[in-house]
């Protein structure tokens, strides 16, 4: 599995960096992809992450990091084009299709992803996942939202407050 550190691009230009997850798994990835993270970009610009060293990410486990990198690698070419003004409609459609499938995952994974995206400052990923969670809330009643997000059942006082709100804003529940 392990490939030469020098990278295998035909002009040898793809600089690789190593990221180390909280459970000590090492991921080697192109610097361009990792740089979608504002946090990592700083480190990489500073010369970090290359060679035998790695950038430790003590708050991201390997399952989440692998998912995060899947996103970064897919989006890196478009990001390199500065938001891809010259991207074809096909490219954009392909990214959209990828994004839709990408967030079609378990809620717990979504939560880990949004935390990781938040901490690594990957704006696109963060808004992609946040939008997905927001979509899960749309059109639902407060009770359904609580269940969807795994909140415990409301206490009697909370239930009373909920009912009062529903009475006051009845039109928002129609």
């Amino acid at each position: 599995m392990a490939a030469p550190e020098s990278g295998d691009g035909n002009n040898g230009a793809a600089r690789m960096v190593t990221l180390i997850s909280s459970d000590n798994t090492r991921f080697e990835v192109e610097a361009a992809a990792a740089s979608l993270s504002q946090t990592l970009q700083l480190t990489i610009l500073d010369g970090g992450g290359g060679g035998g060293d790695g950038i430790p990410l003590p708050n991201v486990d390997s399952a989440t990091l692998s998912k995060v990198l899947e996103y970064c690698i897919k989006h890196a070419p478009a990001a390199a084009n500065g938001g891809a003004p010259n991207a074809t409609a096909v490219d954009r459609a392909e990214l959209e299709r990828f994004d839709n499938e990408f967030v079609n995952i378990d809620q717990s994974v979504l939560y880990s992803l949004i935390m990781a995206a938040h901490n690594l400052e990957i704006e696109g990923l963060q808004s992609l996942v946040a939008k997905k969670v927001a979509d899960m809330i749309k059109g639902k009643s407060p009770m359904e939202i609580r269940r969807t997000l795994g909140f415990p059942d409301p206490t009697p006082e909370e239930q009373a407050e909920m009912n009062a709100h529903m009475l006051e804003y009845g039109w928002a529940y129609e």
């Binding site: 946090t39 480190t43 500073d46 035998g52 430790p56 708050n59 909140f151």
Partner: protein, 437 residues
């Protein structure tokens, strides 16, 4: 450019026992580590009642997820738990939410005959979200306006508030997102020039005039009404920067020169473009800080019939239309008053002609991207075209006359004190502007 196939580019390297962590990396990552600590603390500090997800920090839920919800969805979230209730009542959050909302053009719909009604009302205002595909039409107001001789008029749309007058001549201020409304009886009998946020005081103010009707030598007197203030409107006479302005403001702003011209609010000024009459055209400006009128050069070099002002990305735009095309130019430089052509849009005449009989087009550029809404006076259609003249969507309302108001609307759930009604006995009666919504 590297070809980065998703799977092959991640290479898992077996963990090695040498923990390499040079100081400079730790430094750069410090930011992320700190924010982790911060968010972790937030989870723990949550109140036991709501336990807003044991998984996600409250701040992330609020500012990343809930802020993306629109109107009713966000209001319903206020009932989910105490933390969310606090959040959805927090003025800072609601203002930030408002800032994120798209600015969408408002279209008015009038029932041509009494039996043609939309959801049991004969008057409506809809917002068209042109960024969505297909275009999403959102109901904003639904009410009865009864009269067949006069129609309701939208006078202003400012920060989610809509100022309109009905056929009975009365003025109302509504926030469709919170379903709040008040009447503004002091405006009755006056002519509304525009509404604006007075930035220094944070007050919403209405500029209006009185005293021109049936007058041989019209001499309008202008007033400023502060919304929510119990004080009488303040009379500012006829404030002009130079004698040349007097001609334009003397008979009020619904005189023939400005009839149908909708004000644009930009950089603390209200702007109107002269629609009719006179070879030398003008743009009239009311400075809301200095409270006086002045004139601005009209770009004669681009002139065509039917000029219409609009806001284009922080500057002024003017669009013109003929029966087959529209064009738009934008103000490049406030100081030199230089304008430049931005869009020239040919109507898809052939395509539309196949759909409606004897089409006579009129239309309006309504978005910053140069999207336009055009309608045909002979039929009950409206068409959404993009800045290249491509037909994107067709709307049809039987018996309803639709027209773009020239105003845009940006939803706001912010609860202004002046719209709050005292909590009375029993349920508040259903406001008249939201029937069937």
């Amino acid at each position: 450019m590297q070809d980065t196939a998703a799977d092959s580019s991640i290479r898992r390297v077996p963990a090695t026992p040498r923990p390499t962590n040079p100081g400079r990396q730790r430094q750069a990552l410090g930011r992320s580590a700190r924010s982790m600590e911060k968010t972790a603390k937030k989870v723990r500090s949550q109140d036991s009642s709501g336990a807003t997800a044991a998984v996600l920090p409250e701040e992330l839920i609020a500012w990343e997820i809930l802020i993306r919800l629109r109107g009713k969805d966000l209001i319903r979230c206020g009932a989910v738990c105490r933390a969310w209730h606090r959040l959805t009542s927090d003025p800072d959050f609601l203002l930030a939410h408002h800032q994120r909302q798209p600015s969408v053009p408002l279209v008015s719909l009038h029932g041509k005959t009494a039996w043609h009604r939309i959801d049991s009302v004969d008057a409506a205002i809809d917002a068209f979200d042109l960024h969505q595909r297909p275009t999403v039409r959102q109901p904003v107001l639904r009410f009865n306006d009864y009269s067949h001789r006069r129609r309701f008029v939208v006078h202003a749309s400012c920060d989610g508030l809509i100022l309109l007058s009905l056929s009975n001549g009365r003025f109302y201020l509504c926030n469709p997102a919170t379903r709040q409304w008040i009447s503004l009886p002091k405006l009755t009998g006056g002519g509304v020039a525009g509404m604006y946020l007075h930035t220094a005081s944070g007050e919403y103010r209405v500029l209006y005039w009185t005293g021109t009707r049936r007058s041989v030598a019209p001499d309008a007197v202008y007033h400023v009404l502060t919304i929510g203030s119990s004080a009488e409107p303040r009379c500012i006479q006829q404030p002009i920067d130079s004698p040349s302005v007097k001609f334009f403001v003397a008979s009020g702003l619904n005189n023939l020169m400005f009839l149908g011209s909708r004000p644009v609010l930009l950089h603390d000024c209200l702007y109107w473009v002269q629609l009719w009459g006179l070879e030398t055209k003008a743009i009239l400006v009311f400075d809301t800080v200095r409270e006086s009128f002045r004139l601005m050069r009209y770009p004669t070099e681009f002139h065509q019939p039917c000029p219409c002002l609009l806001q284009m990305g922080g500057t002024l735009g003017i669009s013109w239309r003929s029966t087959t095309m529209m064009k738009l130019c934008v103000l490049q430089d406030y100081r030199t008053e230089a304008w430049s052509l931005k869009y020239q849009i040919e109507f898809p005449v052939a395509e539309i002609s196949g759909m409606v009989e004897s089409p006579r087009f009129s239309g309006m550029i309504v978005s910053e991207d140069g999207d336009a809404l055009i309608h045909c006076s002979s039929s009950f259609h409206m068409f959404h075209i993009d800045s290249k003249g491509k037909l994107l969507q067709k709307f049809r309302w039987d018996g309803l006359v639709s027209s773009a108001t020239g105003f845009r609307f940006k939803e706001s759930l912010f609860r202004h004190a002046f719209l709050e009604r005292p909590r009375g006995r029993g349920r508040p009666r259903q406001p008249r502007f939201f029937r069937g919504l």
